[in-house]
């Protein structure tokens, strides 16, 4: 052990000690005195579109997009992805932006986000499920579906839907957009018949909105769940179960072209 070794270690330690002191000083100074320099907002949708390998799928919407009720956790989006991968033999990338309980109003806000817009821009396929939470409102829809209020809700919803589609088209002219229609989970209940009527009407109007845009395809699911609805529903009697999601996924898959 050399004297010089000790001395140089001491010197190094002193230097580091000073460096950390400077760090501490600047941390405290910055935390209080530092003026907030403007952070550049970048609302322009990203400049470069990266080289894509394979298909890019973006899924937007509510718990159906999320896959709530599916024990495997995939939902129709995940199942569809598997199928696309298998059939096209190409890698596919999925961005699932579904949020549980999302309403059309929230989706309207979501699609305005810069990054969401960028994601849509990259997409080859866009999947959308929305409206269920507007109409059923977690079961509340069961009691007041006859009132006039529902008309106001639907009007608002259609407006949001239109805006959402416009936003998608603004970002991406090419992608196929599949908009999944509503089914009636309450069909077996006492007021099932009347409820079905409301849902059919809702779906019809939604299909009308979709038709106004190029390459936005309305995918009906009402008929899938019309018979034996309880076989295809999860324990909450609202979301589809694995079998139910499979039905939806198969229907969308049959529409895909490549």
């Amino acid at each position: 052990m050399n004297k010089n070794v000790i001395r140089s270690i001491t010197v190094i330690a002193v230097l580091f000690c000073l460096l950390w002191l400077i760090g501490l000083g600047s941390a405290v100074g910055e935390y209080y005195a530092g003026k907030p320099a403007k952070v550049p907002e970048t609302n322009t949708v990203s400049k470069k579109v990266e080289n894509k390998k394979g298909l890019t799928i973006v899924a937007l919407g509510d718990s159906l997009t999320r896959g709530t009720g599916d024990e495997t956790g995939k939902g129709y989006v995940g199942m569809l992805l598997d199928e696309i991968k298998e059939k096209s033999k190409r890698p596919a990338q999925l961005t699932n932006l579904g949020i549980n309980g999302q309403t059309s109003n929230q989706l309207r806000k979501q699609v305005q986000q810069t990054e969401v817009g960028r994601q849509i821009q990259k997409a080859d396929i866009v999947l959308v499920t929305i409206g269920g939470n507007d109409l059923f409102r977690g079961g509340q829809g069961l009691t007041d579906f006859k009132t006039k209020e529902i008309a106001a809700i639907e009007k608002k919803y259609l407006d949001n839907l239109k805006f959402t589609f416009e936003q998608i088209r603004k970002n991406n002219r090419e992608a196929n957009v599949f908009f999944i229609g509503l089914y009636n989970p309450f069909i077996d209940l006492d007021q099932g018949k009347e409820m079905s009527k409301v849902v059919r009407h809702w779906n019809y109007d939604s299909a009308e909105v979709s038709a106004a845009f190029p390459k936005i395809i309305f995918v009906p699911t009402f008929d899938l769940f019309e018979l034996k609805v309880s076989d295809y529903l999860y324990a909450d009697k609202f979301h589809p179960n694995t079998k139910g999601y499979r039905l939806i996924a198969e229907r969308v898959a049959s529409l895909l072209t490549w």
């Binding site: 760090g23 941390a27 910055e30 952070v39």
Partner: protein, 326 residues
């Protein structure tokens, strides 16, 4: 004084404690690096992309979904909301919160080791500095020199500060080198946001600033150093008060671990914020996460730590100069 510090440095180096600490840090950093590497890999596999924006967007959506669960504790919910807003802010401003590379790894490593790991390493040296002289008996030789006692203690304290500086430097250098070998050495200039303000109503982004990674890191290092000095001084005091190194370490260890546990559950016990161990996570203020107890902020924590530090030093010097040595 200079000579006394040289003496203490000589003993410190001869004891090879620093080498042991460097080894421990090295092994730990390797483990972390591997874990991080694995995590990045699985994430890439799962999402099929390495685009940070996509990953961040996914994280935001995932967090949103978790927030919609009704079974979540309010505390946790609030924390998540804050981090959600922050993530969204990063995304909106097109800044990667975790720029890949060694500097980001260093930052994360520092942030996660500030309240337990680094203090532990410091404790290894500090708790033994005075009490080892007692247990060895050499204190009798040390204090029968024509040197005032406070000078002897001061030389030891300065040596402790130097050793702490070295430990912080070692952990910085090792984490940079080891993680750099895996993630690349670049990223010093990457932008990072600071100045998020956590208030009762949530996250306030009005004072957010853009900063280069190297500056942010320097500040992080400064804060970690300060925490290490405070913890070191407290262990030092125990080392003066308690003759047995093991007992001193035990007390300090209990305090540190209780701090780590308390931070997670003291939100309703307000006066706990005056304990030093819940104030150790200084880097969190830079990052902008919710403090364990409402009303805590950087200056509050620094003042609390400073008071503890001053008290520890006062007690150390008072006792050391006055006490009879048997």
């Amino acid at each position: 004084m200079n000579k006394l510090i040289q003496n203490e440095m000589m003993k410190l180096i001869a004891k090879k404690r620093l080498i042991v600490i460097a080894l421990i840090i090295g092994v730990l950093v390797m483990l972390f690096t591997y874990a991080q590497y694995k995590q990045v890999q699985t994430q890439r596999e799962k999402l099929g992309t390495s685009d940070w924006r996509t990953i961040l967007q996914q994280q935001i959506v995932d967090t949103t979904n978790r927030l919609s669960s009704s079974r979540m504790q309010d505390e946790w919910k609030k924390q998540l909301q804050i981090s959600l807003k922050q993530q969204q802010y990063y995304l909106d401003h097109d800044i990667n919160p975790a720029e890949p590379g060694a500097p980001t790894f260093m930052r994360v490593f520092l942030e996660s080791s500030i309240d337990l790991f680094i203090p532990l390493m410091v404790m290894v040296i500090a708790s033994d500095l005075v009490s080892s002289e007692h247990s060895l008996g050499s204190i009798k030789l040390l204090l029968t020199r024509p040197v005032k006692r406070w000078k002897v203690l001061l030389s030891k304290y300065i040596t402790l500060c130097l050793a702490i500086s070295l430990i912080i430097a070692i952990s910085g250098i090792l984490s940079y080198l080891i993680s750099g070998a895996v993630f690349g050495f670049k990223g010093w200039g990457a932008p990072i946001l600071t100045g998020f303000n956590v208030t009762e109503s949530g996250l306030n982004t009005s004072a957010v600033k853009l900063m280069s990674m190297w500056r942010f890191l320097l500040m992080d290092f400064g804060l970690v150093w300060f925490v290490a000095i405070v913890v070191g001084s407290l262990s030092f005091m125990l080392s003066v008060l308690i003759r047995s190194t093991a007992a001193g370490m035990g007390v300090m260890l209990a305090a540190l671990i209780s701090g780590a546990i308390l931070t997670n559950m003291v939100s309703s016990w307000e006066s706990a914020k005056y304990l030093f161990m819940v104030n150790l996570r200084l880097t969190d203020y830079m990052k902008g996460t919710a403090p364990p107890i409402e009303g805590m902020n950087l200056s509050f924590s620094i003042i609390v730590l400073f008071v503890w530090w001053a008290a520890a030093l006062f007690v150390s010097f008072f006792v050391f100069t006055k006490k009879d040595v048997y």
